[in-house]
C-alpha cells in the first residue's frame, strides 16, 4: 500500500508532487503511488540546472527495469537545483518518494499554477478512481 499523500504539498494527475519552499520556489518529485506502479527505479535522468520548463512538459525521465516514463513539471519555471543523489542511488525514489527521493527544485513563474494543483485529498480521490 502506498504511503498517504502528505497535506503539506500539491499534486498533479500525472503523479508528481510539488511543495512550496517559500520564496517562490517549489521542490518536486513523484508520489509514492507512482513509485509503486513503477517498482525498481534503476535510473533517473535529471534536467540541467538553469533549464526552463513549462507546466505539464517533461522535466525528467524515470526508468524501472522494464519501463521508461516521463516526469512532468508541476509548474513552469527555472530548474534551480536537482537531486544529484539519485544518480548514484535511484532507488531513493522507491524508498522515500516524498522525501529523499525528490527530483528537482523549480523557481516558479506563476504561483497561480501552483494554487491550481490538486490538494492531497483531491489526489487521493484521483488515484482511487484511476488505480493505474
Amino acid at each position: 500500500m502506498a504511503k498517504p499523500s502528505p497535506n503539506d504539498r500539491r499534486y498533479t494527475k500525472e503523479h508528481e508532487w510539488a511543495k512550496a519552499d517559500g520564496g517562490g520556489t517549489v521542490t518536486m518529485g513523484i508520489t509514492d503511488h507512482a513509485q509503486e506502479l513503477l517498482t525498481d527505479v534503476v535510473y533517473v535522468e535529471l534536467p540541467a540546472v538553469g533549464r526552463r520548463v513549462k507546466q505539464a512538459q517533461p522535466i525528467a525521465v524515470v526508468e524501472s527495469v522494464k519501463s521508461v516514463s516521463d516526469i512532468f513539471a508541476p509548474v513552469s519555471g527555472e530548474v534551480i537545483e536537482v537531486n544529484q543523489a539519485l544518480e548514484a542511488a535511484p532507488e531513493l525514489v522507491n524508498k522515500d518518494a516524498f522525501g529523499e527521493g525528490w527530483v528537482a527544485r523549480i523557481r516558479m513563474e506563476s504561483p497561480d499554477e501552483f494554487d491550481g494543483l490538486m490538494t492531497a485529498e483531491q489526489y487521493e480521490e484521483h488515484i482511487k478512481a484511476n488505480p493505474h
Binding site: 517498482t39 525498481d40 535510473y43 535522468e45 524501472s64 527495469v65 522494464k66 521508461v68
Partner: protein, 364 residues
Amino acid sequence: MKRTPLYERHLALGATMTEFGGWAMPVQYSSVIEEHRNTRTLAGLFDVCHMGEIEVRGPQALELLQWVMSRNLAGQRIGEMKLSAITNEKGGIIDDVTVYKRAEEHYMVVTNAATREGDLAWILKAKNARGLDGADVTDLSDTIGKVDIQGPLAQKILAEIVEGDLEALRFYHAMDTRVAGMPALVSRSGYTGEDGFEVYTEAGRIGEIWDLLMSIGDAHGLKPAGLGARDTLRLEAGMMLFGHEMCQTVTPFEVVYGWITDLDKEFIGRDALRRQKEEGVRRKLVGFEILDRGIARHGYPVLAGGEKVGEVTSGTYSPTLGKAIGLAFVPVQYMDPGTPLEIGIRNQRVKAAVVPLPFYRRKK
C-alpha cells in the same frame, strides 16, 4: 487475450499482468529485481504455458524435421534435446525452437508463443511440398501445460515430487517420468543461465504441479518469477529473444546461432546460408555495456564516429552486474570486444563498449 491454466493463480498472487504473444502473462509479482535475484540465488518458478508444442511422429518424422530445422538431428538420441532454428528460403529465422526426441519416430518441437501458428503452418507446408505422408504433425499446445523451475535450488525442490533420478539427468536431456504422480516430461534446461528444469504435463494438471512446487519450495525460498525477470535473466545469460534479436530477415550467422546451423545437410535456407557463410556476414549481434549513465532499450540507435551504424535489440539494467547492458546489431568492423560505441538515448549520446557474451555465467 488468451489465458494460461495458471492465470487465476497469478491474480491471486497480486501479479501485474501484461500482454505477451497474445497471452495475458505475469510481468512481475512483487519486483523484477527481487524475482531476478531470487532465481539467481535460490529458485524461481515461471509460468511458460504460453509456449507452443508441436508433435511430429511417424516413419518420416525425422526426414521432415531435417528439412525444416537448421540443426542436424540425425544423431539425436532418445531423451536428448536440441536447440535449432527454423529458417526460410533466404536463411531468415522463422523461429528458434527446442526439439525433444521422445522415442524413435516421435519428436516434440517447442516454439515461442507468438510464432506457434506460423511454425505449424510452415511445417505443414514443408510436409506437403515434400510429400511426407509418413510424418504426422499435431499442435499439442492447448493440451500441454509447462512450468520452468530455475535456480541453484531447483533440483532439490523438484526432486521431492519427481519419480526417478533427477541428479543423473544431464543438461539438455529430458526424461519421461511422473511429477506429483502425473505423467510428465522433465528436461534440464531453461532460459535463465541457471541450473534448472522445464516441466511439461497435461494442461489441466499443471496447476497442481505449480501449487505443489510453491508449497514445497517455500521453505527453500522458491518464489514465482514473471516475464520481467525472465527477460533480464536471459539477457544477462546472453540468450536471444525472438522478435528482438531474431526475425525473418535475420540469419543464424548474424546472431549467435552459427553453431546450430549445420550446412552439411539439406534444409530450407541451407543454400542461402552457405553463400552467406562463404561471403561473410556484414552485420553481427554483439553484447555491449554502457559506460556512462543511462539504459539502452530496444530500437535505440547505435553510433560509431558520430554516424548511426546499428540498432539496439534488447537493453536493460542488469541486476546481477549493477550496470546497463544490451544486445545490438553492428557492422562487423565494430564487433570486437572493447570496440567503443555510442548509444543514442533520447537526445543524448552515451558511451558504450562491445563486451564478450554472455554477460553472466554461473559458477559451477
